[in-house]
Symmetry: C2
């Protein structure tokens, strides 16, 4: 694997775990086992350019990963439960939820850097669109599907926050039981 790709992969994980300001360049260099000069060769505009590259790479990963799950299950209800289950397993084995959440980056950077805010916005939109498409397949109206998809993205994101805070997967487990009821209500 080439250096640039390796930097992006490692930095993505670090940014998700500790946020943008929380990760120093030195930490990234150490984790990648490269020097400062090498990093600035691949990312001339430094740390912010690297972050945006990470968010764009994350967009591809999330798209593939979530779409894989959503293709395996016939209904949105089953698919989202499978997705939450995967988040729970990841949280219980790794202790963190790197992979789908980047809320710390949003909170820190949304008001500071417009390019970063935009990249985050695309990520949320991507997840939401996968949910929406599946819900339309399920027979929901486009309008209902979009509202529900947005709400589910918000609920899962907030649920991960609660898991992190409580050091427990209980919040996401509860949410995976409650969310199907939300879909049920709309279907009636």
């Amino acid at each position: 694997m080439d250096t640039k790709t390796r930097i992006i992969e490692i930095a993505t994980k670090l940014f998700q775990q500790k946020g943008y300001i929380g990760v120093g360049l030195s930490e990234i260099l150490k984790a990648c086992n490269i020097s400062k000069g090498s990093l600035y060769h691949h990312f001339p505009n430094g740390k912010e350019e690297l972050l945006i590259a990470c968010l764009e790479s994350l967009n591809d990963v999330i798209t593939q990963d979530i779409e894989n799950i959503f293709n395996q299950y016939p209904t949105t209800k089953e698919a989202i439960n499978a997705m939450i289950d995967q988040l729970i397993v990841h949280f219980e084995t790794e202790g963190t939820i790197a992979g789908y959440t980047f809320s710390s980056i949003v909170s820190e950077m949304a008001s500071l850097s417009e390019p970063v805010r935009h990249a985050c916005s695309l990520l949320y939109a991507k997840m939401q669109s996968i949910y929406t498409n599946k819900l339309v397949e399920d027979g929901f109206s486009t309008e209902a599907a979009e509202s529900l998809a947005l709400t589910m993205v918000a609920t899962v994101e907030g649920g991960m926050m609660l898991c992190l805070t409580q050091k427990s997967s209980f919040p996401l487990k509860t949410i995976s039981l409650v969310v199907p009821n939300l879909l049920q209500e709309f279907q009636n």
Copy 2:
């Protein structure tokens, strides 16, 4: 107002806006118009002690504020809509959602500082308990009330994140329309 209280009030706002690592001591000193010596007199253990004091103070503010709203409306459905409306107004006038969200602090600090994680956990628990009590008043079973309250806290928190990312209050507006349906379903 005494200095210590003023430091806590100003620092709380800054921490909520930019996160813990995002706010330097110097920025806090400038905003409070005090010197470094004064701050370390009131908080001998420095920045982290100040953050925890802020989170504890926030606990009181949120409790009062949310309970006020919840006492004004007969049902949880109306109360939570009023609460979300208040968040939307705040977001549209101030551009940020300082007051109820501290997700950046959670993301940054949950794995780094156990005292901070615990203080954040108490805050979420407080909000959840207010929701739960109201839902029980509404006639929900304790178990259903707790699950729904947790889900609503997560959904609102995630919704604020989406508003921040999209620079729009649309996500919370959508959520305030969807959430009542969730309560409806459980009530049946």
